[in-house]
């Protein structure tokens, strides 16, 4: 489904990703782990289309299509959705308005019309209940005055409404207490299916107790230094990253 080949990415002349390759098949959940500054967040941001990154070589394809040639919004409509580590506040724009605009943009790309209002309200009510969020969230401005946990729940709410084909979740666990993390993990797990893939970017193994990945990759200095199954994450929790660093340097 997603194919990243020998990706080199720089910011202001500093190379962050130095030849990263990664294949994610339909239905798979991949976790990217690694020490701070290893380029974890850069990967998901580049795939989502964030500007300010210079892609010097390599390719990213999604269902065979050249992702790097697509606009940000085209990527999202094609089903590549990024859940943000730091979701921004948009004052004065109601949460429900953003959800509706996003859903209808996707429907339009699929040749479907706008979702009728009653159907939309029914859908949202169902999803917001699933995220254990109060309906009043819908009327509040996007992320404005939300706590860290509320912001993260809101990201997952958007995911379960927009139903991406590849969900990229960037440090979705940061700043969450254990109860909030369970809710977030339940939301993410509810998205798991044969057709849907996920890319989890995380610093801690803790999240992976709740969302068990098929593959774990350790990113070191802009490259995948080691890959394994869920067991690798547990090993990292116990031993830290240093041994992977040493191994890859050797």
């Amino acid at each position: 489904m997603l194919e990243v080949k020998d990706l080199h990415v720089s910011v202001d002349g500093n190379e962050i990703l130095k030849g990263l390759s990664l294949t994610i098949n339909a239905g798979e959940v991949h976790a990217i782990m690694g020490p701070n500054g290893s380029g974890k967040s850069t990967l998901s941001s580049v795939i989502a289309g964030k500007e300010d990154y210079e892609i010097t070589s390599g390719s990213v394809t999604f269902d065979g299509k050249d992702v790097l040639a697509m606009d940000i919004e085209e990527r999202a409509r094609a089903g590549l959705l990024l859940g943000f580590q730091y979701p921004v506040e948009i004052p004065g724009v109601k949460n429900i308005y953003l959800l509706k605009a996003a859903l209808n943009a996707k429907r339009e790309a699929l040749g479907l019309g706008e979702m009728p209002a009653p159907e939309f309200m029914k859908l949202i009510k169902e999803k917001i209940a699933a995220m254990k969020m109060d309906a009043s969230f819908l009327q509040r401005a996007v992320n404005e005055g939300f706590s860290g946990g509320e912001k993260k729940r809101n990201e997952i709410l958007q995911m379960i409404v927009l139903e991406p084909r590849l969900a990229m979740l960037d440090e979705i666990d940061s700043g969450l207490d254990i109860d909030a993390m369970k809710v977030v993990a339940d939301g993410v797990n509810s998205l798991r299916s044969e057709e849907r893939s996920m890319l989890l970017v995380t610093h801690y193994q803790r999240l992976l107790d709740y969302i068990v990945p098929d593959r774990v990759h350790v990113l070191v200095d802009g490259r995948i230094a080691k890959s394994g199954d869920a067991e690798l994450a547990r090993e990292l929790e116990v031993r830290g990253y240093d041994w992977v660093l040493e191994e890859s340097a050797a």
Partner: protein, 480 residues
């Protein structure tokens, strides 16, 4: 996104650019006492009105244009302007829409103002000013039944001379400032509203101002009086056809609120801003002031300003009455080469007076915008309170936003709060929306509308919808 892309995004053509060819009876350019006598005679005014105009003119001659504003424009040649232009047959004014020149109605249609439908459907009385003479006044009878007078200022001078004599110039004196003095000398038309004691005006009053005849300055004069416990909501909206010459507009609006009266004055302004080089736009030098003369009276200004090449405008409140309230809610958008110096003045004179200022400025392209606000608390204004919030949003990196707050507090019991922010339209916000599949253009509209929400919610419903649409058009671009 690059600056260039940003620029593209905010490019748009003025949508209301067209000219209606109606034979005008127009004065040749030039201004002297004869010009004023001509205007006064054309309007069939009494002698006292001519004297009033001439007094203003003589004062104006001694005055100089203000230079303190953060605006840059070439000197205006007041002798190059024609001061009177009326559609044909002014004596034979149409009595109903059926009698109105179809071309004129067509003009309104193009502007999206199907006057008859609109008036009938929305229950809004419209006093449409086309060039300098009021052409159509609707719902007059219904308003009169309620005791409300809504007519052109020319009619008011003839039919309600006592009211006009008493109140005209009582809020904005003839020599208040350069442009007000000019207006006082040469104003040609405008609206007059009188709401008697205890009457709540049964409908929202609306006037569409247009500028049409070439090189003709428009000098509107509006006077609204609310007696004790009376209330009125007045809407003013403007568009103008595309022009090459700069067109001067110097309006004066005076509001008088007596005891427990409430006047809500809303403006959506979309005059031609000039082309991308700033050529041909409207110069808008406006004096708007409300006088809260009575105790517990309230005056609220709400404005959405998207047009004009130059905007010089400070809708203000003089809070004379005890516990009176003044409010100013403003959205100003400048794009291309537009320049705006706008804000408000809140003058607290009475005890317990309160004022609120919420100003949202949006700059795009190479536009320059300044917020200029004065809060003055006099020695008798015990317990006066002011809250000012002044936010600027920049789109792209070639525009400017400036804030000039002035505070003069002459009373130790006063509470004055000022909050100001300037932010660039967040690249992060744009990325966030686009990463949800929302197009760049929709995302900009969404963010800008969100930024302006505090002000839009103060507008009457139909105006709020119009304002959002207008903002979207203003920031419309060639994305993709």
């Amino acid at each position: 996104m690059s600056t260039q892309e940003m620029e593209q995004l905010v490019q748009r053509e003025y949508k209301d650019g067209f000219v209606t060819n109606i034979e005008s009876e127009t004065l040749p350019p030039g201004l002297d006492e004869n010009t004023i006598a001509f205007i006064s005679n054309k309007k069939g005014e009494p002698e006292w009105m001519l004297e009033w105009r001439l007094k203003a003119y003589r004062q104006w001659l001694k005055m100089t244009p203000p230079s303190w504003a953060h605006l840059d424009y070439p000197p205006i040649d007041y002798q190059a302007i024609s001061y009177f232009s009326a559609p044909k047959r002014p004596e034979d004014r149409p009595q109903s829409l059926d009698e109105v020149d179809p071309k004129l109605l067509e003009t309104y249609e193009k502007l999206g103002i199907p006057l008859h439908e609109r008036a009938a459907l929305a229950g809004v009385a419209v006093d449409a000013v086309f060039d300098s003479v009021s052409v159509v006044t609707t719902f007059k009878a219904e308003l009169l039944e309620a005791g409300v007078v809504f007519c052109s200022i020319s009619e008011a001078i003839r039919d309600y001379p006592e009211l006009v004599k008493r109140y005209l110039g009582s809020v904005v004196p003839q020599a208040d400032n350069y442009f007000a003095a000019l207006n006082s000398a040469v104003f040609t038309d405008g609206s007059f509203v009188y709401v008697p004691e205890g009457v709540v005006c049964p409908m929202e009053l609306s006037t569409y101002f247009r500028i049409n005849a070439e090189n003709t300055g428009q000098f509107e004069r509006t006077l609204i009086i609310c007696e004790d416990r009376a209330q009125v909501s007045y809407l003013e909206g403007c568009t103008a056809p595309m022009r090459d010459e700069n067109q001067l507009h110097a309006a004066v609006v005076e509001l008088v609120a007596l005891e427990d009266a409430y006047i809500k004055y809303s403006t959506v302004q979309n005059w031609y801003p000039g082309d991308e080089n700033g050529v041909g736009g409207i110069y808008n030098f406006v004096t708007k002031r409300g006088d809260c003369r009575g105790d517990r009276s309230r005056i609220s200004w709400t404005q959405v300003e998207t047009g004009s090449a130059i905007t010089w405008k400070y809708p203000s409140c003089v809070l004379r009455g005890k516990d009176s309230i003044g409010e100013f809610y403003s959205v100003a958008v400048t794009n291309g080469r537009q320049q705006a110096d706008t804000g408000t003045k809140m003058i607290h004179i009475g005890e317990g007076t309160r004022s609120t200022i919420v100003s949202k400025g949006i700059s795009a392209g190479r536009a320059e915008q300044a917020y200029r606000g004065q809060v003055k608390v006099g020695p008798r204004a015990k317990g006066a309170r002011n809250f000012t919030q002044c936010d600027s949003l920049l789109i792209g990196d070639q525009c400017g936003a400036h804030t000039f707050p002035y505070m003069e507090i002459g009373n130790s019991t006063a509470q004055v709060e000022h909050e100001a922010t300037t932010s660039k339209i967040g690249e992060d916000q744009l990325f966030y929306c686009r990463a949800r599949g929302i197009s760049e253009e929709d995302a900009v509209n969404m963010i800008v509308n969100g930024f302006c929400k505090d002000v839009f919610q103060e507008l009457p419903m139909e105006f709020a919808v119009e304002a959002e649409a207008l903002l979207n058009v203003t920031l419309e671009g060639a994305v993709g």
